[in-house]
Every structure is written in C-alpha cells, then in structure tokens.
C-alpha cells in the first residue's frame, strides 16, 4: 500500500465522518428551526410551502399563543410549580442524602424504596394518587402538583447527592468532630458546601423534567387556570382548527427557559444526565 493511497483513504474516511456528523446535526436541529420559522408564518403560507421562510414575519403569533392560547397563564403555572418543587427539594434532599450516606437504621430499606420508585412509570400509581389528592382537596391546585413532584424527584436527587457525599474523604468529618461540631453542624458547614455542585446538578435536571412534564398535570388538574405549559400546548393543539403559527410560537416559548439553562449550564447538565454512568457505587448501602 503506497503512502499516497493511504493518504487518500484517511482523508476519505475523514470526509465520511464529517458528512455523517453534519447530517446527524441537521436531523437534530432542523425540526426546531422549522418550528421557529413556522411560528412567524400564516397557515396559508405554511400549506403553500412547508419549507418556506417567513416573508413578512407574523410576530402576532406569539401574542395569540400567549393570550388566546392561554399559554401566558400556563407559563406562570409552570414557573410556580417548578420553582415551588425545587425549593422544597433543595431543603429536603441534601439532608436526606447525607443521612443515607451514614450507617443508620433502616437506610437500606429506604434506599431500595427510592430506587424502585425511580424506575416506575407514573401510570402505575396514578389512580390511587388521584384518589388521595382528591381526598386531600389538592386536585387542581399548585400545592398538589408540587407535592407530587417532590415525591417523584426525591429518588434521583438523593441518589446523585448521596454519591457526592460518599465521594468526600472521611477525614474531613473526623476533624470536624474533633473541633466539636455537632452532626448537623458538620453537615451544614463542612460537608454540604463541598457537595453543592451535585445539588445544583440534581435540581437543574429535575427542574427541566418538571417543566416538561405532561402526565401529572393531565390527570391532576381540571381547569384552564391551572394548566401547565405542556398541557396548555396539548389542549391548544386539540382546538377546532390547528393554527400552526401560534402553536409553533407557544412551543418555542415553552422551550426558551430550558434552552437558556442549557446554554449557561451545558457542562453541569451533561454531567447530570450522565449521572447514571458517572455515579459509581450508587447502590452501595
């Protein structure tokens, strides 16, 4: 095999690599771009040529989505529910994770209970959950959804944060003890600050998940005033005639916070979603 031939072979394999990656990137990105372009067009324009560019951008589509499509209200609801859930998760999960990293009574049982819950489709328990929330008067309320999300997100948060605690050197804790700190002080002043990156990671990932979730609001809310964004979009879409422009606009609106988060915290999010592989020893109990 001559050197020239080898060179050609190498550059052609390089070309194929580039081509495949380029096509894959286009396939991933184009549907979003297409939706954005449609959000600035009218129905007749779209039907005439689905690939076309907006000739005279219809920004009103965003106004229509926000008001007529009820997505303004839905955005506020999604924000309240997501933030509310995250505040409670931030308060509850680090300390739970810390406790579960210590050899305390019942931790093995609780840990497995959390793990089993993580693999479960929400449909498994949605009927009794609906009945329960109904009895508590929490159907169609923000609080009801918040409590359900906190319970649902606990397993992932606890497992991720616990792994961070387990990764910290034991000597840190021992020296805190020698300095006369109580268990809680050790947690609060020494260990938690060091485990903070895992807390942010868990909260961002779960925040995105809650923001995007469709199934719980579908079952646990009733009135237009309580709809979250994904539910609002699904309902808006189910209307008499599909208004592609405003619907695309709504879709785009609902994606903005997630995309912004991703642009700012790309590495954190990537590490968070890779948690499944990165968290070694996550089941050590």
């Amino acid at each position: 095999m001559t050197a020239v031939y080898k060179g050609i072979k190498r550059s052609s394999s390089k070309f194929i690599t580039y081509a495949i990656l380029l096509v894959a990137t286009v396939i991933v990105v184009y549907p979003f771009l297409w939706t954005f372009l449609m959000s600035l067009r009218t129905n007749p324009e779209i039907f005439a040529n689905p690939w076309g560019l907006p000739t005279d951008p219809v920004w009103e589509n965003y106004v229509v989505a926000w008001t007529q499509g009820n997505l303004g209200v839905a955005t506020v609801n999604s924000a309240i529910i997501t933030m509310g859930s995250l505040v409670i998760l931030a308060a509850v999960s680090p300390i739970t994770a810390y406790a579960l990293s210590k050899p305390i009574f019942g931790r093995r049982l609780l840990f497995y209970a959390l793990l089993a819950g993580m693999f479960m489709a929400p449909q498994v328990f949605i009927i009794p959950l609906y009945v329960l929330l109904n009895q508590l008067g929490l159907i169609d309320t923000h609080l009801g959804l918040v409590l359900v999300y906190v319970a649902g997100c606990l397993p992932y948060c606890v497992i991720i944060i616990r792994a961070a605690f387990l990764g910290l050197p034991q000597a840190l804790e021992d020296s805190a003890r020698v300095d006369g700190l109580s268990t809680f002080q050790t947690f609060r002043r020494i260990m938690l600050p060091l485990a903070m990156p895992s807390v942010y990671t868990a909260l961002i990932i779960e925040g995105i998940w809650i923001w995007n979730d469709f199934f719980y609001p579908l079952i646990l809310t009733r009135s237009r005033e309580m709809f979250t964004l994904p539910l609002g979009i699904a309902i808006f879409r189910g209307g008499y005639m599909i208004q592609y422009g405003p619907l695309s606009a709504g879709t785009f609106i609902s994606m903005i916070p997630v995309v912004l988060l991703y642009l700012v915290f790309a590495d954190l999010i990537r590490r968070g979603v890779a948690g499944g592989v990165a968290v070694k020893g996550s089941t050590r109990s």
Partner: protein
C-alpha cells in the same frame, strides 16, 4: 433528619403504589363511592384481553427497537464525534437538546413532520424522487408505530451519545495507541479493546432505555391516540384509557401492577448489575 423526605415519599409514592395493588382487586368506576370486591377477576380478564396483549407486544417492540437503535446511534456517533473534534463538539451539544425537550413538543413537531399535507417528510421524499414511499405516516396501521419510534429515538438517542462519550473518554489513551501499533483495524479495536471497557455504560444504558420504553405515553397520546386500529397501543396508554376513559379504575390498577412488576424487575437487575461491578 429523614422525617420530611420519608413522610412525603411514603404518602405520595409508596402509599399509592400499595393502594394500587389493593384497588386491582375491585370492580370500581373510579368515581362512584361503591367498590365491589371481585378478587383476582381483573387479572383473569386481563389474561383474556386481546388489547392488553397488543399493548404489551407493542411495548416490547418499542423496548427492543429503542435499545438497539439508541445504543448503536449513541456509540457510533460518540465514536465519530471523538474523531473530528470541532464538528463533534457541535453535534454532541445539539444532540442533547431533543432529550431536554418536552415530549409534548416532540410529539407535536413530529406529528407535523409526518403530516401528509403540510409535513416535510413526504415533501422531502418528493424532492428526492422517492414519491412512491410517501405515506399517511400516522394514519396507516403499518407505519404508525414505526413513525412513533422515529420520534422517540430522535428524542432519546442524544443521552446515549453523552453516555458513550463519557465512557470512551475514560478509556486510557495508551489502549488506543497500542491497538494502533498492533495494527488493529478500527472495527477490531472497537470489538476487542473498546467494547469490553464500555460494559458499564451499555448495561446502564440498556436499563434506562427499557425503563423509558415502559413509560411510553406522551408520544402515543399526542401523535396517534393509540390508533389506527390500536396498532400504537402501549401499556401505559391502555391503563390511562381503561381508568380515565372507560372508567374501569380497578382494571387500570391491575394493568398498573403489571408495570409495577416490570419496574421491580428492572430495579433488581440494576442493583445486581452495579453490585457485580464493584
């Protein structure tokens, strides 16, 4: 310290799960105050219900296709991304965006792509002179499930690109180099050197994809409603229809218990797999 978490988790997760097992022994509309105890009759009905088998079969098909497609795409594209850094980085960042997008949006956008009048897929086929392949993608019983699988894998594969990137980058450099020195081809390097090192990634990926497959609901709800002719019916969606459309809450709870058993098996497998590694 554990009280708030245990309380919340028990009340809103564990209690409903147990209650579901109990409810599956009743004939109950879900709304009326009357519940009639019927023992295991719901399960008997389930075992004779062709729609349940159809839903189960479709769920299994989804799981198998998604495992193969997403692990393959994840590995292949992570491998290629590492070979060409600049474009690879761009692709890798983009690939995760669908994964971070709500299923409602994924379902809506792909419904449009598959739409026979305004959709771009049929249009694209025309442009490529492949007009004979044009379909009413979501309305045709032989292509509906396939179409949903396209949307599903488009949404999910990016996660496994990241997984395999993490895995590939953790393999020590000298292993690649010594494979090259030994004159191994790319394919041989992959099979004999790389794959054994990625066992953990593959196992965790496998488990997560199976889990996600059994949770399939939103895309079916948005794109096809389980049709046409129940060809896209899946377990979670059939449960939803049984309980909330047909008002057979007890029956729905019985389907829920089938999903429960699957989830417990997966959790057991996960613990075993991660343990075995340690």
């Amino acid at each position: 310290m554990l009280v708030p978490a245990v309380l919340l988790y028990s009340l809103f997760r564990l209690y409903p799960i147990l209650q579901g097992t109990y409810l599956s022994l009743f004939r109950w509309s879900g709304v009326s105050p009357q519940k009639e105890f019927i023992g295991y009759a719901n399960y008997l009905e389930l075992s004779n219900d062709p729609q349940f088998y159809l839903a189960f079969e479709n769920t299994i098909i989804i799981a198998v296709v998604c495992v193969i497609a997403q692990l393959f795409l994840g590995f292949a594209l992570a491998w290629l991304s590492l070979k060409s850094r600049s474009l690879g980085r761009l692709f890798q960042s983009a690939a995760l965006v669908p994964y971070l997008t709500s299923m409602v949006i994924v379902g809506t956008v792909w419904t449009w792509i598959f739409d026979p009048t305004m959709g771009i897929l049929n249009n694209l086929l025309d442009v490529m002179n492949l007009g004979s392949l044009k379909q009413v993608w979501l309305g045709n019983p032989s292509t509906a499930l396939f179409s949903i699988l396209i949307a599903m894998n488009w949404q999910g594969f990016g996660l496994y690109v990241i997984f395999f990137m993490v895995g590939l980058q953790s393999i020590p450099r000298y292993l690649y180099d010594s494979a090259k020195v030994d004159g191994l081809s790319d394919l041989r390097t992959i099979v004999h050197v790389i794959m054994p090192m990625l066992k953990e990634v593959i196992v965790v990926g496998f488990i997560l994809i199976i889990t996600a497959s059994f949770k399939t609901f939103e895309l079916v709800y948005i794109m096809t409603g389980g049709g046409p002719a129940y060809t896209t019916e899946v377990l979670a969606f059939y449960l939803y229809r049984s309980a909330f459309d047909m008002l057979k809450a007890g029956y729905g709870a019985a389907i829920g218990n089938v999903l429960l058993v699957v989830a417990l098996l997966i959790a057991f497998f996960y613990v075993k797999a991660v343990r075995a590694k340690e």
